[in-house]
């Protein structure tokens, strides 16, 4: 989940035709329902040698750390070989259902928690309740929101690997020049910091993006303002409620008050931050890797509490088991997941926050750049795992926030429009998947 997350590869029309055709072929050879998961899980695998195909989307700076963990696992397990297949997340979510439906899917994988519901409803992935019972994994070792994020329809489909939230990155040189000693933590100190930066000659200290991660910023602000963007049962979207409108107005005000230039196109705010053209940017903690590798004098801090309630947008990478009928592979895949979960300390190197309390307490987070964010783990908020929510969000909210930030309409009208369309789509999804 790096910058490349957004860069979906383009497909020529021809590829779409071919895609539809292959999809049709796949559909023709599919059929059948979810298989029951393998035998009782003991934490060990003593069957014949197996090779597991492991799909993930760690195409950025996080990739090498994942590969390192996989290599170590392979070294420690003689009869299991794990082969990674890494692709862009956007392609990942498009390919996985097709591959699993065709019986060509992976044996184990990682996905974002908000895709678990979608894939569970499509019977692409298997419930893991028996596995967590056997492993003795409980909510006690995780923060509750992260743990609950792996559940859809009262069944567990994901074992959390990490949690990653939005963070505030700032240029320490600029802060020093402006005489700011502490990272702003609320609305007043944030605006004071922006004014101080402007006084110090940094004319546009906080570029407001119109695209990614703008909708995550809006979600963060909505929760801070006391809003709830989606009904938790997946029945409706509440974008246009008072807190949502306030949030979008605040985002737009950054431009109107001159803290940000207008019309910030995709990625421009981040490039500007790396170039020292702007002083503060909000982005995902996965950017720590990229920023560490640059010469930029920077620091990371939690997102300031603008709205009043302490809240920040977060997501989580979770392990899943795709539907398949090879018992040995299922058992081996469970061993892999259990091992990876225990060894997720190494994953901190990728800029992420390991999901397990015991791993976090082991000291792996001491001195890593994302350490200041870790304390906020209890204020991290997740969208519901309703099937289809990912598409609903990209088809409605992301476009609406872009329109609002660009100033192509009033926040309430834009959000009203997007909200009613989102609700319409969510109702359709509920009808398709039966809740």
């Amino acid at each position: 989940m790096t910058m490349s997350h957004r860069r979906r590869s383009a497909r020529a029309p021809l590829a779409i035709t071919a895609g539809l055709a292959s999809v049709a072929l796949l559909a023709a050879c599919s059929g059948g329902t979810a298989e029951t998961p393998g035998g009782e899980f003991t934490g060990e695998y003593d069957g014949p040698d197996v090779t597991l195909s492991y799909w993930n989307g760690f195409t950025g700076g996080d990739g090498p750390f994942m590969q390192q963990m996989v290599d170590q696992f392979n070294e420690e397990h003689d009869n299991i070989t794990v082969e990674s297949n890494t692709m862009q997340w956007a392609d990942f979510y498009q390919r996985l259902p097709a591959a699993v439906t065709a019986g060509e899917g992976p044996d184990v994988g990682v996905m974002h928690f908000d895709q678990l519901g979608t894939n569970a409803a499509r019977q692409v992935i298997l419930p893991l309740d028996d596995m967590t019972d056997d492993l003795g994994l409980t909510v006690d070792d995780f923060s509750e929101t992260v743990w609950e994020a792996g559940v859809y329809n009262e069944q567990r489909y994901g074992i959390p690997l990490d949690v990653h939230s939005l963070a505030m990155f700032y240029n320490t040189e600029h802060f020093e020049a402006a005489g700011i000693t502490e990272a702003p933590a609320d609305a007043a100190s944030f605006e004071a910091a922006l004014d101080a930066l402007q006084a110090a000659g940094y004319d546009t200290p906080f570029w407001m993006p119109s695209r990614w991660p703008a909708h995550m910023m809006w979600l963060t602000l909505d929760w801070q303002n006391g809003g709830e963007p989606y009904e938790t049962d997946g029945s409706a979207a509440n974008f246009a409620a008072e807190p949502g409108v306030e949030s979008l107005e605040w985002m737009r005000s950054m431009i109107d008050e001159g803290y940000s230039p207008g019309d910030v196109a995709q990625d421009a705010q981040y490039v500007a931050f790396k170039n020292g053209q702007t002083s503060i940017t909000w982005d995902g903690i996965w950017q720590f890797n990229d920023l560490e590798a640059s010469d930029l004098p920077y620091a990371g801090a939690p997102i300031p509490n603008i709205g009043g309630d302490d809240a920040v947008w977060a997501s989580s990478h979770q392990f899943f088991l795709p539907r398949q009928d090879d018992e040995n592979k299922l058992d081996a895949a469970k061993v892999f997941i259990a091992w990876m979960s225990e060894h997720s300390g190494d994953w901190a190197g990728a800029g992420m926050i390991p999901a397990r309390q015991s791993v976090r307490d082991s000291g792996v987070l001491d001195g890593v750049p994302q350490a200041p964010i870790v304390d906020k783990i209890d204020s991290m908020r997740f969208i519901p795992t309703t099937p289809g929510i990912g598409t609903v969000q990209s088809e409605t909210l992301e476009i609406a926030i872009a329109e609002g930030v660009l100033g192509n309409g009033t926040p309430d009208a834009i959000l009203e429009d997007a909200g009613s369309r989102a609700t319409q789509l969510m109702e359709e999804n509920l009808a398709t998947f039966g809740g």
């Binding site: 979906r8 779409i16 097709a98 990625d267 319409q424």
Partner: protein, 318 residues
């Protein structure tokens, strides 16, 4: 064609019995020669096209066991104002229309100008031919990412240099109309003009120099030669280039997907973009297939119109 003569030679030398066998086999021969292509054509064009029609009559999500038959509902939905699909689809068709109308004239005229220059004799001609064709070999992803950074209104080089030249440096190429269309058409012309230029060039080289000579003898100037010799000489190829360019423009997807993400709002979200979103990301294959067929009908109509416009007119020669 003289391709059959070796077969006949074999027939003659080997007597009558094999000849009959060969004659019988001869019925299969054309099919055998066509087989490799027919297999691909059938498997990747005819079969998907028919299956697509079938899919468009269902609520078709390939990951779900039930794919209920819905008759013409998908089509009716697209023509019913207020349904979840119609307004967005027609907005996408409008975007495709705007892009096609805006880009086709440039994609026909600019490559012709380039081809005319490249057809002249001057030192380094091959080098320039390669330069003009070069962008075409790039993938759309490369082209779009490159131009996304160049055209960015806040951090891009294009606005920076415009500013250096004393021109307005705050044009929002990627975030507001009409500039997004200017950017998309401009990038597309830059990217694909080489293809049409090469075809024009080949056609130009086919025009007999004697015709130009005769025109000159008759006292024709440069413009007169262009209108009376070059253009008529290009007519056969012009039909192909025009239809091909129309279809390529109507299928625009990658540029807006990567440069503008369909924005601002859904302004530059083209029909193919919307079909891909609906079918491949939303798994609504039925609705996406219906959209494809409506787009196809438009393109067929357009092709017929172009054929009609470029038809041989009897007695119209000057």
């Amino acid at each position: 064609m003289t391709g059959a003569s070796p077969v006949n030679a074999g027939v003659l030398s080997k007597g009558r019995a094999p000849a009959r066998r060969l004659r019988e086999n001869a019925k299969a021969t054309p099919w055998l020669f066509l087989a490799p292509y027919l297999t691909l054509f059938g498997g990747f064009v005819v079969f998907p096209a028919i299956l697509g029609l079938w899919i468009s009559l269902h609520r078709w999500d390939y990951t779900l066991p039930l794919k209920p038959f819905v008759g013409l509902d998908n089509y009716i939905g697209l023509f019913t104002p207020g349904s979840t699909t119609s307004s967005i689809f027609w907005q996408a068709m409008r975007a495709t229309g705007i892009f096609t109308v805006a880009s086709v004239p440039f994609l026909l005229a600019v490559p012709l100008a380039v081809a005319l220059i490249m057809n002249a004799k001057f030192p380094g001609r091959n080098f320039f031919r390669a330069i003009y064709f070069a962008p075409y070999v790039l993938g759309v992803a490369v082209v779009a990412v490159l131009w996304r950074y160049l055209l960015d209104n806040n951090i891009g080089l294009v606005n920076y240099y415009l500013g250096q030249l004393g021109l307005p440096s705050d044009t929002t190429w990627l975030t507001s109309v009409p500039w997004v269309w200017v950017a998309l058409v401009g990038v597309t012309v830059w990217w694909t003009l080489g293809f049409n230029a090469v075809i024009y060039l080949a056609a130009l080289q086919d025009i007999s120099p004697e015709l130009y000579e005769a025109a000159r003898v008759d006292g024709a100037g440069r413009w007169s030669q262009f209108v009376n010799v070059t253009l008529p000489g290009l007519r056969p190829i012009l039909t192909f280039i025009t239809i091909n360019t129309f279809i390529a423009s109507a299928n625009m997807f990658g540029q807006s997907y990567l440069l503008t993400q369909g924005g601002p709002g859904r302004e530059t979200r083209t029909a193919i973009y919307q079909i891909a979103e609906t079918g491949l990301r939303n798994f609504q294959m039925g609705s996406a297939a219906a959209m494809s067929y409506i787009l196809t009908l438009f393109l067929i109509g357009l092709s017929i119109l172009v054929f009609w416009l470029f038809r041989e007119r009897k007695g119209s020669s000057r």
